[in-house]
């Protein structure tokens, strides 16, 4: 509180001081009979010189920032298209840096050079068609070059990925990422958000997951049966709001369960196989050096954005829509560490679309491995704990109602 008081007192005193200075200034200007509409020659010249001074500050500041920070943060591009991207960015940068220096220099030099001088009248120069044509056409030509080069790169980057691209899905939710590799068949299994359960966070669609989802929606901890029995239990006393909420919850789940039943009817168990071999990976995304990847993106709750600054790649992840982006990493993490001389360096996947309080923490470390190491990592993922091991053997009895309601009670219920 003490500091606050000091701040306030300082502000008040500062105000009074300025007011007193103003009084003085007013008195002196009354004596010299200047009104505030005529800028004195001294003021004019001083400010003209300051314009030049500011130009120096701006240009030197820019050069200093460029030398000190210019390219360090961005670093070398670690993907194939990233090289083309950086080339184009550098080209555009040189163009705009030239324009920046040239036009700002003209502006501030003119402001200095043409400040009012006694006896010198301004030059009456209302228009000149030739000049105006020049500065319409020159920018147009430069822009045409920029557009053509830009669109060429854009088309390459957004084109379809080839046949040898590995399909990987990145699943985003508040506030983490999960990767799903398409497995041996290179086909990502189908999904539907209604199939989300704790064991099936990515909502993959197989015969077993549909059954599990139905079972837990019907008889899970917060399943339809539980809610109905609570609502019909006369011994339970509830606040009206709580009851209303429960009724709403029930009707929502009843709608969802109908859709799940329809899904079960239509489901073709032949497609299960494409989901079984998918490899699900959290925390770290492993990629293979020089291997093209086709990424598809999903969002569970709100919009996120998959941003890989080192690979010059970014795509939003949108609930209800699947988006895509492709790239080929071409520098392994190990070589990049050597290049940067930083043994702790890692590539990263960040969230770059505001998604809630912990937005800034939502990231996934990306590791690019040489082919051999990548393959052995991939093989290690196919054992116990994989999606296949949980869902393929249909040992699960469809009686999740008897699942123990542990402290982690959300575990069984898809819907809480």
């Amino acid at each position: 509180m003490g500091t606050k008081l000091i701040i306030i007192v300082a502000l008040v005193l500062g105000g009074i001081a300025i007011a007193q200075l103003m009084r003085l200034y007013e008195l002196s200007s009354k004596m010299s009979k200047s009104d505030e509409s005529e800028v004195g020659t001294r003021d004019n010249n001083l400010n003209g010189r300051l314009m030049l001074g500011f130009m120096a500050f701006l240009f030197l500041g820019f050069i200093w920032l460029m030398m000190e920070f210019g390219w360090t943060g961005r670093g070398e591009a670690a993907s194939v298209h990233g090289k083309a991207y950086d080339w184009l960015l550098d080209l555009n940068f040189w163009i705009i840096i030239i324009v920046f220096f040239l036009t700002n220099a003209l502006l501030f030099v003119f402001a200095f050079k043409y400040t009012k001088k006694p006896g010198v009248k301004a030059f009456y120069f209302p228009h000149n068609n030739k000049l105006e044509m020049i500065w319409t056409i020159v920018p147009a030509v430069v822009l045409a070059v920029i557009i053509i080069l830009g669109l060429r790169t854009w088309n390459d980057i957004t084109a379809d990925s080839g046949k040898d691209a590995i399909n990987v899905e990145l699943f985003s939710k508040q506030f983490d990422w999960t990767a799903r590799y398409a497995g041996d068949d290179n086909i990502l299994g189908k999904f539907d958000y209604k199939l989300t359960t704790d064991a099936n966070e990515l909502a993959l669609m197989t015969t077993a997951t549909i059954d599990t989802a139905i079972a837990s929606m019907e008889s899970g901890v917060n399943g339809i049966k539980t809610i109905e029995s609570k609502l019909n239990d006369p011994s339970l006393i509830m606040v009206p709001e709580e009851r209303a909420k429960m009724v709403e919850d029930l009707s929502r789940k009843q709608r969802l369960i109908r859709l799940l039943y329809q899904m079960r009817e239509k489901h073709n168990s032949k497609i299960d196989a494409s989901a079984y071999d998918d490899v699900i990976q959290k925390d770290t995304l492993y990629l293979c050096e020089n291997q093209p990847y086709e990424f598809t993106f999903r969002a569970k709750d709100v919009i996120h954005s998959a941003y890989f600054p080192h690979f010059r790649a970014q795509m939003n992840t949108v609930p209800g829509v699947v988006t895509r982006f492709k790239f080929t990493p071409d520098i392994s993490t190990k070589s990049m560490r050597e290049k940067k001389n930083d043994p702790a360096f890692n590539y990263v996947l960040m969230c770059n679309k505001i998604c809630g309080g912990a937005h800034y923490k939502m990231k996934m470390i990306v590791v690019v491995l040489p082919k051999g190491e990548y393959d052995s990592w991939m093989n290690s993922k196919k054992g116990p704990g994989s999606f296949k091991s949980i869902f393929q053997p249909v040992v699960e009895a469809p009686a999740p109602a008897v699942e123990p309601a542990t402290a982690d009670s959300t575990a069984v219920a898809p819907v809480v």
Binding site: S37, F69, F93, K116, P139, D301, N316, Y360
Partner: protein, 607 residues
């Protein structure tokens, strides 16, 4: 109003106008509060906007402190946010997002749309056209009161228990639609939407009034091609507002329905806070298209009035005609038109079809051409001028500099391929703060310094004006220039804390933290510098030296009105216009300015 319309043609004795109103003395309430006089309404807009601007600036200092010294308690932060939102002087994550959101909203809409357009369109359109008042004084008054109400609701939304809106000023759903996703999407978001709805009504009423006034109430001889560029800018701005704000309203209404009525315009297949929603088939991209259909013209709604003001100020104080008057009008029209077909450049990486992206690249880069023409015309206007470096002139020159500096980085962002790696990073923040924020703010200051004598009948202090200018220009460049480099390092915007970089790239982290401290340092300097302005402004209203009739020796009509404001602007007949407003230093004339009311001399050509 009929009387006003008639008099616009200058056939009536002006006293007839006053007689219509019974020649009554105005009471305090009708003069200062529920005023229908455009000059008073302009001043009301200005005062409200200055207040909102101060609030938004303080918010920015709060989150700049968090960014420069994350996790360190600050008395300043706890003074404003209290224990609830900043335990121990460290703001909460949610509050950080709330501050960022409200800062953006206030700055874009309340300061630079309502404030800039509202102040100067109101003040200058009738005065520079030779009209008694706006076409509808009553609607004009409504426009201000809606603006005030929406401002108050927006301010109030910061004090609700669950916090203000926190989804960024663009309020993209689903985040803004789901209170389970972030606490600010509850009551705070509802109030945001209500406030903006009223704001849009205010803006529409105001804009319609400006358009009608410009088209119908020009005095005798004031052809469209004799209007000052200020009026051209306000006119096109108003047209943009009328065409684009209703689209924002529809976007907001659909969002309201999704939030309150369970519809699925923007929502599909969502599980949030453990709750599986039944919404299916909506598209968040629909919202983005609607939002940016306003959002991009909005940039020019903010920028064009500033460019108009600076054209007038630069010409007057260079004592030279604005170079390429018709090209300037053409640029304003071209920018206005193009601004409607470029919105997709905000959406290159949203999953929009890449081919559509290419089309937007093309249209967006086209805008650079009229913008370049404007810059070169400003430069040529300064060339061989006789510059009177008044504070207004200095701010206008500053505007040209920021318009260049911020404009060129737009070329990078408009290029879809290059946008991929800098989209939503600090590079974007730097770009739009310089080109839109700084340019518009500098233009607004230029306007205030230049037309202060017209508004308040007194002069502002020159020396304080200079000090204010230099602190502002150095401070603002010091804030936004380094941000480009933070963005090129790949730092996403709207991050509460960059220490997360520690886990993967310490060299980037060091750089970001170094720059963040520099930025915050300049931000604090620039903010303190604004005290010079506030002091000068309020002090001069009451104690500044009395203004002469035409302090800057300007040609436009507003300087032919008496210094003391009167209802109806001119005591006698409305002035007649014989020439364009830029006859400065015309060869053959004794003085270096010829007001628009002076008839052409024998054999004189009209520019």
């Amino acid at each position: 109003m009929a009387a006003v319309a008639h008099e616009a043609h200058g056939h009536h004795d002006s006293h007839g106008h006053h007689d219509d109103h019974g020649h009554h003395e105005e009471g305090f309430v009708s003069k200062y509060i529920f005023s229908q006089d455009h000059k008073m309404i302009g001043k009301q807009f200005l005062m409200t906007a200055i207040f909102m601007g101060i609030v938004a600036m303080i918010l920015s200092i709060l989150f700049r402190i968090q960014l420069a010294w994350p996790g360190e308690g600050s008395d300043f932060v706890s003074f404003f946010l209290g224990e609830e939102w900043a335990p121990g002087g460290v703001m909460k994550e949610d509050m950080y997002l709330g501050l960022v959101t409200i800062h953006g909203t206030i700055m874009v809409f309340f300061l630079l749309t309502g404030g800039l357009s509202g102040t100067f369109s109101n003040m200058l359109i009738p005065l520079q056209l030779g009209a008694r008042d706006m076409a509808s004084g009553f609607l004009n008054m409504l426009s201000y009161w809606f603006f005030l109400i929406s401002s108050l609701i927006m301010l109030f939304s910061m004090f609700v228990e669950s916090g203000p809106a926190m989804a960024g000023w663009t309020i993209y759903p689903p985040l803004s639609a789901l209170p389970q996703a972030v606490s600010g999407s509850g009551t705070g978001m509802t109030l945001w939407l209500v406030s903006m709805t009223i704001f849009i009504a205010s803006s529409l009423i105001g804009s319609l009034n400006y358009i009608v006034t410009v088209l119908n109430l020009r005095t005798k001889g004031m052809k469209m091609t004799r209007m000052p560029l200020t009026i051209w800018a306000f006119f096109v701005t108003a047209v943009l507002g009328v065409l684009s704000f209703p689209v924002l309203l529809s976007a907001a209404l659909l969002l309201m329905m999704d939030r309150l009525a369970g519809t699925s315009f923007y929502l599909s297949d969502i599980i949030v806070g453990g709750e599986m929603l039944t919404n299916h088939g909506g598209s968040p991209l629909l919202y983005q298209h609607l939002f940016w259909f306003l959002g991009h013209p909005e940039v020019y709604i903010v920028l064009l009035p500033a460019l108009g003001l600076s054209s007038e100020i630069i010409s007057t104080n260079a004592r030279k005609p604005i170079f390429g008057y018709r090209a300037m009008i053409g640029s304003i029209l071209a920018i206005g038109f193009l601004s409607f077909i470029v919105w997709g450049h905000h959406m290159f990486v949203t999953g929009m079809n890449p081919f559509l992206g290419s089309v937007f690249v093309f249209t967006t880069l086209l805008i650079a051409i009229p913008s370049a023409v404007k810059v070169f015309n400003y430069l040529t206007t300064l060339w061989k001028g006789s510059l009177h470096l008044t504070p207004a002139m200095m701010f206008a020159i500053g505007l040209v500099s920021t318009f260049i500096t911020g404009g060129v980085t737009g070329i990078i962002l408009a290029d879809s391929a290059l946008d991929i790696a800098v989209h939503d990073t600090y590079f974007v923040v730097a770009h739009f703060h310089i080109v839109m924020g700084m340019s518009a703010v500098l233009g607004m200051f230029a306007g205030v310094y230049h037309w202060f004598p017209k508004m308040f009948g007194r002069m502002m202090n020159l020396r304080l004006g200079y000090a204010h200018f230099w602190v502002t220009l150095v401070g603002a460049y010091g804030v936004f220039f380094p941000m480009h480099f933070v963005g090129l390092a790949g730092a996403p915007r709207r991050y509460y804390d960059y220490s997360a970089y520690n886990e993967f790239d310490t060299s980037s982290l060091d750089m970001i933290m170094d720059l963040n401290i520099i930025i915050t340092f300049f931000a604090i300097i620039a903010a303190i510098g604004q005290l010079l302005f506030l002091f000068n402004f309020f002090y001069s209203i009451f104690r500044g030296p009395k203004a002469p009739q035409n302090p800057w020796k300007s040609n436009t009509l507003e300087w032919t009105t008496p210094v003391e404001h009167i209802h109806g602007n001119w005591p006698g007949e409305l002035p007649t216009v014989y020439r364009w407003p830029y006859d400065y230093s015309k060869p053959g004339s004794e003085v270096d300015f010829i007001p628009q009311t002076v008839p052409l001399a024998d054999g004189e050509e009209e520019h």
